[in-house]
């Protein structure tokens, strides 16, 4: 039998996982100066290690095989995986590797989580996104959504954009986001179309590339409102509101590519280099690494969680008691851990959408484009490039929000929302700029492959490409539950993802591709070509992309959501909070879900403060 060790000392707040969201909770609750000099004791537990960007990344990251294919910094699949299928009728199979075509994006591991290796692209969700259900019903009729999204399960958020706006500011300051507003012409709180800002981003945008400048000029001439892409890679030296200094990006080129290159200077924002250092400095914070959380213990009389149990690296079992628990695990594990512990109401699928029940696992969506989508391509014959210096996060590019949300009339169209459209990001992706093995087409191997590499690093002409799509909408048929067959290394069931893209993504793409083509044409591009229309269902999701999200909704209705407006679990599980839930994002073709989730972590921090001040456990209102 494993050795069960005596319980650890009681904590005020126990963070499950130490990624972006937990980092905010750790800093906000452990720093006494932010809590009227109350010294809350915070413990945070992660299955992975602590990463130091100098010792761990500055030399070892230049390892194309180990990082790009071996995924040596990422969550090890033999430890835990998930299974995936497209429909409830299929047998779900486990993800066995991170490389295409089975899988592409890897989950994070250790302090900082997935943000250790992400692209760093950001972008707020606008006012429409938070109320898209009611606004769509009002403007286009209540029959519209069910007609374009079979088994529709879209809901409004419990708070409006104006409620989240100050929390966005906190998030952006903590992580040193770069940009220059979001395209709102008035930047006033009456603007319902664009994410207006009470404070500009704390850092200026990265320098724009020639392509971005061309896109900006063309977009403006077409009446759009371009703005620099929002990036979480520090463009300048920075110090955040916790007093943590940040090194700026060195544009080393080993950054993006397949989104897997950790940053060697800490310029790529994540909890390890923005929030956790401040928590550690506070004296009120304990970091537990290499420890796998497998259960929450619940007092059956009060339904309050009393402790979290985890395995250490030697297999010993630890028990961490706490007053409040914050679930900052990655989406599927957030759901799985609660499900296995009997916390929350598990979602039960039914082919009849009126017969479904439960909320935990309900509403899985995808922030990424269909594997095949309607695309548009073009050439810029007179613009060259340099692929060596590069940051990622689409730094250097320019975006517009004019073709997303309800910023154009959808009357007569068969979709809602749209896409953030942009162009001009830095060319370089380090070695990721070379097509990795794994595909099966002739372009990915042999003489054809070599030929395409000749002009790769100092191209004399550039290609433009875009595969825009409207956002994925929740349905009752896409969800997370517990797999009945496969287990993790410790014998617990893994999460099972049932997901396929919804029609909204494809239908939006058809419309948007032509709009993008018009911008490319205005830029002076040649050979502007809109690809053949890809109809809904023409491609199926066969990957466990890290942009699959949702399944643990924040909402108004306890029957269909897990968290209330304070990101507190609905009754009776009052003492667990969570963030990172982004079922109902208005979406775009960049994964801004992190930014949307980030604001919630500050809401949750305020919620936890309120909860700890209660004289008896209860629901926050």
């Amino acid at each position: 039998m494993p050795t069960v060790l005596p319980p650890e000392p009681m904590a005020d707040v126990v963070c499950l996982g130490v990624g972006y969201m937990s980092g905010v909770i750790a800093a906000e609750l452990s720093i006494a100066a932010l809590n009227n000099q109350v010294n809350y004791k915070v413990v945070a537990i992660t299955k992975g290690p602590y990463w130091d960007y100098v010792n761990d990344f500055s030399t070892t990251k230049y390892d194309e095989w180990g990082v790009g294919l071996g995924r040596k910094y990422d969550s090890p699949l033999p430890l835990q995986s998930a299974t995936i299928r497209n429909t409830p009728q299929q047998f779900a199979l486990p993800v066995r590797r991170y490389t295409m075509p089975i899988q592409y994006h890897a989950l994070g591991h250790g302090v900082g989580g997935a943000a250790q290796h992400y692209g760093g692209t950001m972008g707020r969700q606008g006012p429409w996104g938070y109320k898209q259900k009611s606004l769509t019903d009002t403007k286009y009729g209540t029959a519209f959504l069910p007609s374009i999204n079979p088994h529709n399960d879209l809901e409004d958020w419990p708070l409006a954009y104006s409620d989240y706006e100050p929390y966005y500011v906190d998030w952006e300051r903590a992580h040193g986001l770069c940009g220059n507003y979001n395209g709102s012409t008035t930047n006033s709180s009456s603007d319902m179309n664009y994410p207006w800002m009470s404070q500009n981003y704390p850092l200026p945008p990265h320098p724009l590339t020639p392509v971005a400048q061309s896109f900006q000029t063309a977009a403006q001439s077409l009446g759009y409102h371009p703005f620099p892409h929002v990036s979480a890679l520090a463009s300048q030296p920075y110090t955040n509101q916790y007093g943590v200094p940040v090194n700026p990006c060195v544009y080393d080129g080993y950054c993006g590519g397949p989104c897997d290159y950790a940053c060697e200077t800490g310029a790529k924002a994540n909890a390890a280099y923005r929030t956790i250092p401040a928590a550690m400095k506070s004296g009120n914070f304990t970091l537990v690494v290499n420890s796998f959380i497998f259960r929450l213990n619940v007092d059956t009389t009060t339904n309050l969680i009393t402790s979290a149990m985890y395995y250490d690296a030697q297999g010993n079992i630890h028990t961490q008691p706490g007053k409040v628990f914050f679930n900052g695990l990655w989406g599927y594990n957030m759901i799985r851990t609660m499900w296995l512990s009997g916390v929350g109401v598990p979602y039960r699928w039914n082919s009849d959408p009126t017969m479904v029940s439960g909320s935990l696992g309900r509403g899985l969506t995808n922030g990424y484009l269909p594997y095949r989508g309607t695309s548009v391509s073009a050439s810029l014959p007179n613009v060259g490039g340099n692929s060596y210096p590069a940051g990622n996060g689409s730094g250097g590019s320019v975006d517009i929000y004019d073709l997303m949300d309800d910023n154009f009339d959808h009357t007569g169209l068969n979709f809602i929302g749209g896409s953030e459209i942009g162009a001009g990001g830095y060319l370089g992706g380090g070695p990721g700029n070379i097509t990795f093995a794994g595909g099966s087409s002739s372009a990915n191997m042999g003489a054809t492959f070599k030929a395409t590499q000749k002009d790769k690093y100092l191209p004399s002409k550039l290609s433009l490409g875009s595969t825009p799509f409207a956002h994925d909408l929740p349905t009752t048929d896409n969800y997370v539950d517990i797999d009945p067959h496969y287990t993790d290394a410790y014998g617990d069931p893994v999460a099972r993802l049932t997901y396929d893209w919804t029609p909204n993504t494809y239908n939006g793409a058809t419309y948007l591709a032509n709009k993008v083509a018009a911008i490319f044409t205005k830029m002076g591009a040649t050979n502007v070509t809109v690809g053949s229309t890809v109809n809904p269902g023409a491609a199926h999701n066969d990957w466990w992309g890290h942009h699959l999200r949702g399944g643990c909704r924040i909402g108004i209705n306890a029957a269909s959501s897990v968290w209330n407006k304070w990101n507190q679990c609905w009754a009776p599980y009052f003492n667990i909070f969570g963030a990172g839930e982004i079922t109902n994002t208005s979406g775009d073709n960049v994964p801004s879900g992190t930014h949307v989730a980030g604001a919630q972590s500050y809401v949750a921090a305020d919620g936890i403060r309120k909860y700890l001040a209660l004289t008896a456990p209860g629901q926050l209102t």
Partner: protein, 202 residues
């Protein structure tokens, strides 16, 4: 759901990872909230300052990534700059601008011998919400019996502190001064910060 089932044998999983130990609190570079708030207040108040100025001292080093523990804020400027800053920060004034000369607590160590270090400047002092701010105009340094050096001049670097762009004394200049004084430990801290940022001086 099934109740917790413990495996019948010890299970451990040790994936190969390259990992660092968790740093000790004293190894982490963090500016205290009090000095951070003061730095922001000063930065905002001096946004329109016409004379050259920059944060110096340990605060400038922390926000540039150097692991030191400041206890007050320092600004280096010219004599005219000191007067202008004194006007902008008049509500925080404690000591009016005047010539001042003092001996530093730490001695220089040159050719293995200790030497007293004197500084003189046109100096004013302020209390910014509980933090001491020293403003030095045309600061000069004298080591032992050598001549006074020229007033310090510099081209500042810039750091964004919670969105407020503030000038700071370049680390390269501070490193040169520390090395000149024989304060190798302080120069080494700067060297470590520069290595971690992977940027060249300046």
């Amino acid at each position: 759901m099934p109740a917790l089932r413990l495996p019948d044998k010890q299970k451990s999983y040790s994936p190969f990872v390259i990992e660092s130990r968790i740093p000790k609190p004293e190894e982490l570079v963090v500016l205290s909230k009090r000095l951070l708030d003061s730095t922001i207040t000063i930065g905002k108040a001096l946004e329109g300052c016409t004379k050259k100025w920059a944060f110096g001292g340990d605060v400038a080093e922390v926000i540039s990534g150097v692991n030191v523990e400041p206890d007050h804020v320092t600004i280096l400027t010219t004599k005219e700059g000191c007067d202008e800053i004194s006007g902008k920060l008049s509500r925080y004034a404690v000591v009016a601008p005047a010539m001042a000369e003092r001996k530093l607590a730490r001695e220089a160590k040159i050719a293995m011998k200790p030497h007293p270090v004197m500084i003189r400047s046109y100096m004013a002092q302020f209390n910014i919400d509980g933090s001491v701010l020293d403003v030095h105009g045309d600061l000069q340094i004298r080591v032992g019996e050598w001549e006074w050096g020229d007033p310090l001049d510099y081209e500042p670097d810039f750091v964004y502190v919670v969105g407020v762009k503030v000038p700071v004394i370049p680390l390269q200049m501070k490193s040169e001064i520390y090395n000149g004084l024989g304060w190798r430990d302080r120069a080494a801290k700067i060297h470590e910060a520069v290595i971690r940022s992977r940027h060249k001086f300046g």
